[in-house]
Chain length 331, copies 2
């Protein structure tokens, strides 16, 4: 028969409430109390029953991190993994644990979105839609949207300055004298794609350049696809002298295509990426890219969600974290 | 007042047990039953109460993935993130969710290891010790150890052929004619370090070469540290003609140092890595490395743990997943 909190309380002489506090919030009891409680617990082989605690409080202290299926292996995604890590850290600091799943895991066979696991709120990352948010709210589930912007009442969305980042990278290329600039764009969510594409177009417009659609390609954002696409673009007789890639994985694939074609980077081909992923300073030459403040994105999303879980009224807001251009060796 | 399972049961006409099953194990009821249950649930805004379910079953269907603090941001660690993803997939297939934490999160102020969150078992990844395993077992917590080998009764450890992998890479270098081969080793756990170091030494012994300790360095496994270390090694007048790096991040740093020193890879310096991380085929030239079957490691650890949770007796066993050499362009 397992020991209960009452057994521990009897043995150490403190109340049940104090024993409970010694485990749940160790910093709220004195060092001496903690020691006595832990000693008694150790002697009895007692550990607090987390399930029972959750039942009593009606809260689980768990948060779900739900990512769009195509970006799914969040831990392998160079853009989302640092965001996820920041969410994880923020949650841990505030006493919450994190579940990962893809949006598909939340769908019932009838298409409804249903939360089967124990959690107090959800961060919806990547492609998401208003219906999903509404379904979750119907289950009294607070939601914050990450890296997307949805027009839903009382909904907080945390994203980054997608348009401004693209404009920064493109202006840098035009200031370096480039006129024929290619675009290799990843097939991301409409919010991300459209904003970055508009930045590309507006920068060309600023220098009176019309868009050459042979130089504009949309691909699945893998290094392999990027290599293939860049190889084709670079084999055109009047090939671009610079390529703007809408993420760093695409930029790395483009670099490989250029190096294999014997082109010198940046002298014969300039390349700019987006995200400032880990890879951007591991490749040689190191990649010029747009730095996205992933740590802040993750922290803000977690903080806003936890505030709602703890009673703050939800707010309609789109938060855009600022971007900056990191000039390295490929431009 | 929130709807209960009884309300749903009344409205759809099925028993409480059937309603419960329609949510917990949708594939165990017919399509028609599911539809009726979900319709009733939707009409009443009912969702199953996961906490109450866990309470009744005495199980949480949650598993902890605990990683050694220094390797902690598991989602940013190129070796552990694919393992973690495989654990996650295996758990999801079997109906379990996964928590991430570092070993520090589990330590009480008295040094004891304590599980505060709701979970049914734990995968201990990276550096871990027998005391930790014993502490967890005292809380009736099944444990499987990942990427380490501990001598503890009834303990299953899932690791890879660390020694054999190092030997493969080194023999490949000696077969290419190299005699002066450097070693840049990451400061990993004793299990990993010692095995890979022994592989290095034994391969040199096979060709009658004594170890030149100026060519053997241990560093924190970052690209920056590797670059620095490789630069120094390459500036020696009788520098090595090949370097074996005990992971791919170190190998990439070594590549950067070589390229910046104007050396042609592999003609003037051959480089071999370990792990076959994502980065190894993104860099140019692509990296020769030892492939570790991370998917199988993750799957086996999760399967063995879940079997124990579901009643299988624990077994003392060290499982070594096989390795293979992937020859690319750096050797």
């Amino acid at each position: 028969m397992a020991a209960t909190i009452l057994d521990v309380s009897r043995l150490c002489g403190y109340s049940k409430a104090t024993v409970s506090r010694a485990f749940a919030s160790p910093d709220q009891v004195t060092e001496k109390t903690r020691q006595k409680v832990y000693e008694a617990a150790r002697a009895l082989n007692y550990t607090p029953d987390a399930i029972a605690r959750a039942m009593v409080r009606g809260r689980t202290d768990n948060i779900g991190f739900v990512i769009y299926e195509k970006q799914y292996p969040v831990v392998l995604n160079p853009f989302y993994s640092p965001i996820f890590e920041s969410v994880l850290q923020t949650c841990a600091r505030k006493g919450y644990s994190l579940f990962i799943s893809s949006d598909r895991d939340l769908r019932l066979p009838n298409g409804q979105t249903c939360v089967k696991k124990q959690m107090d709120g959800i961060i919806l990352a990547g492609q998401s839609d208003a219906q999903m948010v509404m379904d979750l709210r119907r289950q009294n589930m607070p939601v914050v949207v990450l890296n997307n912007a949805l027009d839903v009442d009382d909904l907080t969305c945390v994203t980054t300055d997608q348009y401004g980042g693209a404009l920064l990278a493109m202006r840098h290329l035009t200031e370096r004298g480039h006129r024929k600039i290619g675009l290799i764009a990843g097939a991301f969510s409409p919010h991300v794609c459209t904003s970055r594409y508009n930045g590309y177009c507006d920068a060309l417009r600023e220098i009176g350049q019309t868009i050459d659609f042979r130089f504009v390609q949309t691909i699945e954002p893998t290094a392999e696809q990027a290599m293939q696409c860049a190889s084709m673009m670079l084999s055109l007789p009047d090939r671009p002298t610079a390529i703007f890639c809408t993420n760093d994985t695409i930029a790395v694939g483009t670099m490989k295509a250029a190096l294999r074609a014997g082109l010198c980077i940046p002298k014969e081909l300039a390349i700019a990426g987006f995200d400032d992923s880990e890879i951007s300073h591991l490749v040689e030459p190191e990649l010029t890219t747009v730095r996205v403040d992933k740590a802040t994105m993750g922290r803000l999303a977690a903080e806003r969600l936890i505030a709602q879980i703890e009673g703050a009224p939800p707010q309609k807001q789109v938060i855009q974290t600022p971007v900056e251009l990191v000039i390295r060796q490929t431009t």
